[in-house]
């Protein structure tokens, strides 16, 4: 299950428009503020642009570095989540992230959480430069989760 979400970035499709950063910050903080975004755009000058975001590493150094138990893999799809309730903002995860995809604001660190499967950045990108892909195995898990949500177990209250 681990690492079954892969983040596929097609830099040649990125125009650097920044819509993904706005969508991200709006979803997470309720404001259009690129500085609050969990996705970054690197300007390669004449080579174009690169949307940089957590790649959900198979062997993720951040998971081993967190002394607060704030970083865990989500059970259903193996995506790494940072629980801001547990985070103490120590930057240990920042220090070991090879993709420089963990930020810090206030006294907490933050990273992409796939907008709880809604993947706002990928959805808003007009050119399909960002794609979250899940393996067949994790899709099966997703289906099981959906099935669970529709049955009495959850009282049908959660939204998919």
């Amino acid at each position: 299950m681990s690492g079954s979400v892969t983040v596929n970035i097609q830099k040649d499709k990125c125009t650097g428009c920044g819509l993904c950063r706005l969508a991200c910050s709006f979803d997470k903080n309720g404001v259009f503020n690129p500085n609050a975004s969990r996705i970054w755009i690197l300007d390669g000058d004449e080579s174009g642009f690169y949307p940089n975001i957590c790649r959900n590493c198979e062997e993720a150094p951040c998971l081993d570095a967190c002394p607060a138990g704030a970083l865990v893999r989500r059970r259903e799809d193996g995506y790494i989540l940072l629980n801001s309730e547990k985070c103490v903002g120590c930057n240990m995860c920042v220090m070991v992230c090879p993709f420089c995809a963990i930020g810090r604001m206030g006294d907490r660190n933050f990273k992409c959480d796939t907008c709880n499967h809604l993947e706002k950045c990928a959805r808003i990108c007009p050119h399909g430069a960002i794609q979250f892909q899940t393996s067949a195995h994790s899709r099966a898990n997703k289906r099981r989760k959906l099935a669970g949500l529709l049955t009495a177990k959850t009282g049908g209250k959660e939204k998919w």
């Binding site: 690197l42 390669g44 081993d64 967190c66 002394p67 138990g69 120590c90 920042v94």
Partner: protein, 412 residues
């Protein structure tokens, strides 16, 4: 097979998590620990003292992890390992037999060794019980003296300060964090702590802790200064808990010597975490890498070795990340002046922005880096150091724009 794990901190948890899915149905794990509470993060204790975290927030894993019919917990301190008979002798006189043993016994604080060190109100900061004692005393304390200039001392000082007491930091060395920091980083930390209202005395040695039955009243320094204090916290470093293997064939130096599979010099006995002395990432010397990520990996590898997985420890690399009064610091590898003689050193201090960056290069490869005020791209530099990636344009490592350029060029 009976696998015994001594200790219940992160290396222990990491070992247990690796063992459970991989071991045979009839295998058993016994955790022997003197900790009243299992799986809490010692790193977070200062945040607990300051009131930022509650006790429930200190746990990095749930106790449910040991709710497995194959796992049992013995809440006792280990007196000694008897490697010949493959058993542990416990404080109570009981024994626990093992087929495989993983020692994650951690470390204990170094004593202050002066008159008055046992007075009520003198604390170390290692265990939850210590933190509870400090937290309770700090509520009533007017003036607290913290001894030591290491990370634990600095964090203890800021935590107690937040609870309202006056805090004086007494440091024997001529600079703060002298074990890992260079002159500039020490100076920046000094500034950050001072701005928080902490009074710092460098190059000062303690002579005596004075008081009565009620507890500490003052701290006397070698130079004759007497400081009023109703509590003292000693943060003079730690030493690995190696006494339990004395007289066995398990080799020790400063810690328990382990190989890349975390096995000690006695077959079937492994060590991980703060108690282990392991090879460094350059494969040139062994050392104590008392770091969280190393404890995680070492616990996993020790368990993996028992399960027959061939996975090797990639070696320890000194690295630290901390935030003082809102200012972030990251130190990776060697940056101290005395450790980097003969190296190429590039550094840049922006006084106005209070941003410092430094890169240390030996034989064309980065071996140390420092970030203060702005830690952007520290992750890339960390992996460059670990991988020994050749530095092409060193000047770029000490500006944000330069680092961004290096990072960007690698993605294209």
């Amino acid at each position: 097979m009976v696998i015994v794990i001594i200790g219940s901190s992160i290396a222990s948890k990491s070992a247990l998590e690796t063992l459970l899915p991989g071991m045979k149905k009839e295998d058993r794990v016994i955790i022997v620990t003197r900790d009243r509470d299992l799986f809490y993060s010692r790193v977070l204790l200062p945040n607990y003292i300051s009131g930022e975290l509650e006790k429930k927030d200190l746990f990095f894993a749930s106790r449910d992890l040991v709710d497995d019919r194959r796992v049992s917990v013995v809440n006792e301190a280990v007196l000694a390992v008897d490697a010949d008979n493959k058993e542990l002798r416990l404080n109570s006189g009981n024994t626990v037999r093992y087929d495989r043993l993983i020692i994650t016994a951690g470390a204990s604080p170094t004593g202050v060794n002066v008159d008055g060190e046992h007075l009520p109100g003198v604390f170390y900061l290692r265990d939850l019980e210590d933190a509870e004692g400090i937290k309770d005393r700090a509520k009533r304390a007017k003036s607290c003296v913290v001894l030591g200039g290491g990370l634990v001392a600095l964090k203890a000082a800021t935590a107690v300060k937040k609870s309202g007491a006056q805090v004086k930091l007494i440091v024997a060395s001529s600079r703060l964090l002298s074990a890992i920091a260079d002159e500039t980083v020490s100076r920046l930390i000094f500034g950050s702590l001072s701005a928080e209202g902490i009074d710092i005395r460098l190059g000062a040695s303690i002579k005596q802790i004075g008081g009565n039955g009620q507890g500490v009243r003052y701290v006397a320094l070698e130079d004759g200064t007497v400081i009023d204090a109703d509590m003292v916290i000693a943060g003079k470093g730690v030493k690995p808990n190696i006494d339990i293997v004395k007289g066995t064939g398990i080799a020790v130096e400063r810690g328990i010597i382990v190989d890349a599979g975390m096995e000690t010099t006695v077959k079937g006995v492994y060590a991980a975490g703060d108690v282990a002395q392991s090879m460094d990432y350059l494969n040139t010397r062994t050392g104590l890498f008392t770091l969280w990520p190393d404890a995680v990996q070492q616990g996993r590898i020790a368990a993996g070795s028992i399960l027959g997985l061939e996975r090797e420890y990639t070696g320890g690399l000194s690295m630290n990340s901390f935030v003082i009064n809102g200012m972030p610091f990251i130190i990776i590898g060697s940056i101290r002046e005395k450790d980097i003689k003969g190296c190429e050193v590039y550094s840049n201090f922006d006084e106005r922005r209070q941003v410092y960056r430094k890169i240390v290069i030996r034989d064309g490869k980065p071996v140390g880096a420092a970030f203060a005020g702005d830690i952007s791209y520290a992750g890339m530099v960390y992996w460059d150091i670990r991988a020994g990636r050749a530095v092409e344009e060193p000047g770029k490592y000490i500006t944000k724009a330069g680092l961004k350029q290096i990072f960007t060029s690698r993605l294209f």
